[in-house]
């Protein structure tokens, strides 16, 4: 069966006055893995469930290839789903679970067994076909669920936080496995998660969702290095927010941490906030500096230096283990820029020129 591409056009879903999906559109190419990333309640699960037909949409269309499947019931959509909760049928063995969808499609017994053996091998559970769900670990159950979803040769694979019930180590292992299997099968896949590390690790493209719409869609490196909005910058990775005033179009003098050259261009004199990642900053000890090193926390591969400015603002700077030796807590330091900033945002809270109250409200 050819694996189609998936097109979502202007999906809308309302729960009372809450807009779970508010005109959500997305194209997923055949063979591509798109991660929908966002905080809980952003609509990512609703989006996935409406692709599967498990939620009735209030607007918009779902296409597979050229076929509008918006009105089709779940059972007719031929989509493989792996759920967040363990979903194996408890009265069937792992192999019987995998064969369930094939049985419905009236595939002969011998063929079914061959296919379930192949899939058990594919997900690395060759020996465990005759185990029941309660005899398998959480990670193994999710592998079987993946095999079961793939058994029906679905047009699209939908993974709804499949790893969130598992513990950290299994999670990392299994996400790599899922990615490997997905590439091997070459199927259009939507993977929903709230874990940004997971998203960055396995996605071809990440769609960051916020309040029912796609905030930004791009490759993991784009999302991380060039977030298009403040929300994306702050949701994916760690970020510092420093307020200051533009002294040139591409230069901002911050109140407490010195000046930064910015990638955007802003009006000279405007009050702005600069968003910058900890690893794009450096810190050095100086005598009589206005900043202090208040804490140094160990993160494994690096340290996070917590800096407090003269006005009490806090900043996190990534410091390599070699550098970290040179510092002592309470020391007077200064912060400098190592790499590009992410974004510069106009501070609407503190306008440079006094705006009449009526106009300010309109903002």
């Amino acid at each position: 069966m050819p694996h189609g591409n998936l097109r979502l056009e202007g999906l809308k879903k309302f729960y009372g006055s809450t807009r779970a999906l508010d005109g959500f559109s997305l194209h997923v190419q055949a063979g591509e893995l798109v991660v929908l990333l966002g905080p809980s309640g952003c609509g990512k699960s609703t989006a996935l469930r409406s692709v599967a037909g498990l939620e009735r949409l209030d607007g918009g269309h779902v296409f597979v290839g050229d076929h509008d499947i918006t009105q089709q019931p779940t059972a007719k959509r031929n989509m493989g789903i792996v759920f967040q909760h363990y979903s194996l049928f408890p009265h069937l063995t792992a192999a019987e679970n995998i064969e369930f969808g094939l049985k419905i499609r009236k595939v002969s017994g011998a063929k079914r067994r061959r296919r379930s053996n192949e899939l058990l091998e594919l997900v690395g559970l060759g020996e465990l076909g005759d185990r029941f769900a309660h005899q398998l670990s959480g990670g193994q159950q999710q592998r079987v669920a993946l095999a079961r979803a793939l058994a029906i040769e679905p047009t699209v694979l939908l993974l709804d936080e499949p790893l969130s019930a598992l513990d950290a180590k299994v999670r990392v292992n299994l996400r790599e496995e899922i990615r490997r299997v997905q590439k091997e099968v070459g199927i259009a896949t939507i993977f929903v998660t709230h874990d940004q590390e997971e998203a960055l690790a396995i996605a071809d493209r990440i769609g960051v969702m916020h309040q029912g719409v796609l905030e930004q869609l791009g490759s993991p490196t784009e999302i991380y290095a060039a977030p298009s909005t403040e929300f994306v910058a702050e949701f994916v990775g760690k970020v510092n927010r420093i307020s200051g005033t533009a002294t040139q179009e591409d230069m901002v003098m911050t109140r407490e941490f010195g000046s930064f050259s910015i990638g955007d261009s802003v009006a000279v004199g405007s009050k702005v906030s600069v968003l910058v990642r900890p690893e794009q900053l450096g810190v050095r000890a100086i005598a009589n500096g206005s900043c202090r090193l208040v804490e140094m926390s160990f993160l494994g591969s690096s340290f996070a230096a917590h800096i407090r400015g003269s006005g009490g603002s806090k900043l996190i700077v990534a410091v390599s283990p070699d550098e970290s030796i040179a510092f002592s807590i309470g020391e007077s330091v200064e912060v400098f820029q190592r790499g590009p900033t992410l974004l510069t945002i106009a501070d609407i809270d503190e306008p440079e020129i006094a705006i009449p109250a009526e106009l300010a409200k309109l903002d």
């Binding site: 989509m79 979903s87 009265h91």
Partner: protein, 275 residues
């Protein structure tokens, strides 16, 4: 008894001997509590004049045509009750969980209502409501079955619903549908096998209720087995005891079969979640 077993197991870790003895004592006491009355009844039912052993009570019982007819009637009513209970309770409980979970509280409350309404009131209500329009139906003893379905709801519905709640039924339904299963297929191929224990429990309770119910049948003047037992008890004591023992056997044999059969299947298929 259930409360005693964990204590015995706790002791088992430290003092296996005392734990074992304790268990044996508990088993003996509980066994005696149930068995002594049965043995005494059995003895009484076969004692004739001057303590001679005689089966005359049983003979006259089996020769009494109304014994067989009342037993047969009760069995028929019980079977019909079981079928109707299954048809009502199983889809309702599943449907409420999957589609309208917010009605759960209401349905729960409704299912206990029969406990609060005395049988006499139910009978009078039914007579008052249907007598004028459905005279024919009220003369058939099978009218008892729907009444029993309703009266047994507090037991049957709750038993089944507990089993439904112990499954993550929504996820199972969604998984089955995503694999292409129709509603029927989902119900028969996925849900019922995993709800087997709850289903059997609920149906046994409904059947047992129908077999043992006296007040409604008596008020509606149907000669069911319990009504027959009471009637014969008024005139012949030994026969009344004999008939009770027969009733016990009639209930005990199928129940044991169902339990053994049901458990065997359950163990073989290793359904952990439903127990």
């Amino acid at each position: 008894m259930v409360a005693v077993v964990p204590g015995a197991e706790g002791g088992h870790l430290r003092q296996a001997g005392i734990g074992g003895v304790f268990r044996a004592v508990v088993l003996l006491v509980v066994g005696a509590f149930f068995l002594i009355p049965i043995i005494a009844s059995a003895r009484y039912s076969v004692l004739g004049v001057h303590n001679h052993i005689t089966f005359s009570a049983y003979r006259s019982l089996f020769n009494d045509p109304s014994f067989r007819s009342s037993l047969w009637l009760s069995l028929q009513v019980a079977i019909l009750t079981v079928i109707l209970t299954g048809l009502l309770v199983i889809p309702t409980s599943i449907w409420v969980s999957v589609r309208v979970p917010r009605l759960r509280g209401l349905i729960d409350a409704l299912s206990i209502v029969p406990l609060g309404v005395p049988s006499v009131v139910v009978v009078l209500g039914i007579l008052g409501a249907y007598h004028s329009i459905l005279n024919v139906i009220l003369t058939s003893p099978f009218i008892l079955a729907p009444i029993y379905v309703m009266l047994a709801l507090p037991y049957s519905y709750r038993t089944f619903d507990t089993a439904v709640r112990s499954l993550d039924i929504n996820t199972l339904v969604e998984a089955a549908q995503s694999l292409g299963a129709s509603w029927n297929r989902t119900l028969i191929g996925v849900l019922l096998p995993n709800l087997r224990a709850g289903m059997i429990g609920a149906l046994i309770l409904a059947g047992a209720y129908a077999l043992g119910e006296f007040v409604v049948a008596s008020l509606l003047s149907f000669n069911t087995f319990p009504v027959y037992i009471v009637q014969i008890g008024l005139t012949a004591a030994a026969e009344a005891v004999a008939v009770s023992l027969v009733a016990l056997l009639v209930a005990f044999i199928p129940l044991s079969l169902v339990t053994i059969f049901g458990n065997g299947r359950t163990k073989k298929r290793s359904v952990g979640a439903t127990r």
